[in-house]
Structure formats: structure tokens, C-alpha cells
């Protein structure tokens, strides 16, 4: 089961995780990653926010594709990706990735794979506002390297 949600509203982590395994007693564990908005302005600033822009249609398509890839690579029972867009404040939840499997190794590895791939493939862009100016967040080489690691592991299998 794959569940993909792209939304502006917040999500309830415990309700989402409970729903992921509901009705399937073969699931032995759920791994999850929650991404939050970090405060870039620091404690002295008056305002700080982040606005997430995305490409409606392609976002859902890319998230579904990486979720299907995870389901093929690991023995998963369920996979969930929720990603928010719009204006968010420090401490707000941005993303939830959760994977459910009979055993922990598949759940933990596939959860890490999903967040690494999502960061380099899902068409989202962050615009930071520290209260005085707006700045588009630059992509990090370390994110590309984290995603590339999963491709390398496939080749060496």
C-alpha cells in the first residue's frame, strides 16, 4: 500500500502511523522520519519563515515513483509520504516519511532511502525569509551524495 499526500495543512504523526499498519498484523515495525522547519534567523530576529513552492502534478508523480521503487527494493507492507507546501514557521512539520515491514531492517533502510531520494527528485523549492530579506535555498552537494549512495549500493549487490 502506497499513500502520497501533498498538502498545505499540518498532519498528525501518531494518527498517520496508526493508519499505516491498521488491519495488517503482519507488520512488525514502522520506521518514520519527520522533517521540521529550522529557525534560520536566530533568537534575536523578529520573524523567520519558509515558503515551499512545488510543481503540482509532477510532485505527486515523482513521490509515487520513489515510493514504488522502495516497495520493489525492500519487503514493505506500506509506505507513506506526506509533504507540505506554502508558508511555514520554525518548528512546523514539513515532511513525514514512514515505512512498515515485518522486520526493522527493511523499514529503517527504506525510510532513509525515501528521504534521501525525495530531497533530490521531488520538485519542491524553499524560499527562506529571515525577516529582512528573502533567499532561495541552494541545493546541497551532500544531498546529491546521500541519494547517489543508494544507487551505488544497488550496483554492488
Amino acid at each position: 500500500m502506497i499513500s502520497i499526500k501533498v498538502q498545505s495543512e499540518d498532519f498528525d504523526i501518531s494518527a498517520e502511523l496508526a493508519a499505516l499498519s491498521a488491519g495488517n498484523t503482519q507488520i512488525g515495525g514502522i520506521a518514520s522520519f519527520t522533517g521540521l522547519v529550522r529557525d534560520i534567523a536566530g533568537p534575536m530576529a523578529t520573524a523567520s519563515s519558509m515558503t515551499l513552492e512545488h510543481y503540482p502534478g509532477m510532485t505527486e508523480k515523482q513521490l509515487s515513483a520513489i515510493a514504488r521503487e522502495a516497495m520493489e527494493r525492500w519487503p514493505l507492507d506500506a509506505c507513506l509520504i506526506i509533504h507540505r507546501f506554502g508558508r511555514l514557521m520554525p518548528g512546523d512539520r514539513i515532511v513525514l516519511v514512514a515505512t512498515a515491514s515485518a522486520h526493522r531492517e527493511a523499514a529503517l533502510s527504506s525510510c532513509a532511502f525515501l528521504i534521501d531520494w525525495l530531497k533530490t527528485k521531488a520538485p519542491f523549492w524553499k524560499l527562506e525569509d529571515d525577516g529582512s530579506e528573502q533567499r532561495w535555498v541552494a541545493a546541497k552537494d551532500s544531498d546529491d551524495e546521500a541519494a547517489a549512495k543508494w544507487a551505488a549500493e544497488t550496483r554492488s549487490d
Binding site: G35, Y55, L118, P123, F124, V137, A138
Partner: protein, 83 residues
């Protein structure tokens, strides 16, 4: 053909989308980027760093040699920063 722009490429060009008719010699993605940049002004500024411009055709990532069709939806955007 429908062109979509996102993030700082949208901001630099000054619009989110436009409808264009390609000249007959523009047949692939690389040629499209060359043609857009040749319009000068905001386009040239937005596409100056060609290596960071990502292109999706019909919502799938493509390379510069990808052939274009008249009804395609082509999106130009910088490297993604979600998650």
C-alpha cells in the same frame, strides 16, 4: 507548447507560465534553452547558469537531447530543495 517556470527561474523571468510556438529549428530541450536565452533580458539572466537548470517534459526529468513534441508541457526549474 506550454512552458512552466519555478522558484528563482520563475522570479527572474517574471512569469510562472507562457504559451510559445517554437521555431522549426528548435527540436530538443537543449535547443529550447538556447532559443529562450537568445530572447535576452530576463530570459538570458535566468538561464545564464545553464548547468543548474533542470528540465521536465510532461512531468518527467529529461536531458538536453530529449526531442520535443508540439503538445508537450515543459518545465524549467533550479535544483530541488524539498524534504
Amino acid at each position: 507548447m506550454k512552458l512552466l517556470y519555478f522558484a528563482w527561474i520563475r522570479a527572474k523571468i517574471g512569469m510562472a507560465e507562457e504559451q510559445v510556438t517554437l521555431p522549426p529549428d528548435v527540436r530538443n530541450v537543449g535547443q529550447l534553452l538556447d532559443w529562450l536565452a537568445s530572447r535576452g533580458g530576463n530570459y538570458a539572466a535566468a538561464l545564464k547558469e545553464r548547468s543548474v537548470v533542470k528540465v521536465a517534459v510532461n512531468q518527467e526529468y529529461v536531458a538536453a537531447d530529449h526531442a520535443l513534441q508540439p503538445g508537450d508541457e515543459v518545465a524549467l526549474f533550479p535544483p530541488v530543495t524539498g524534504g
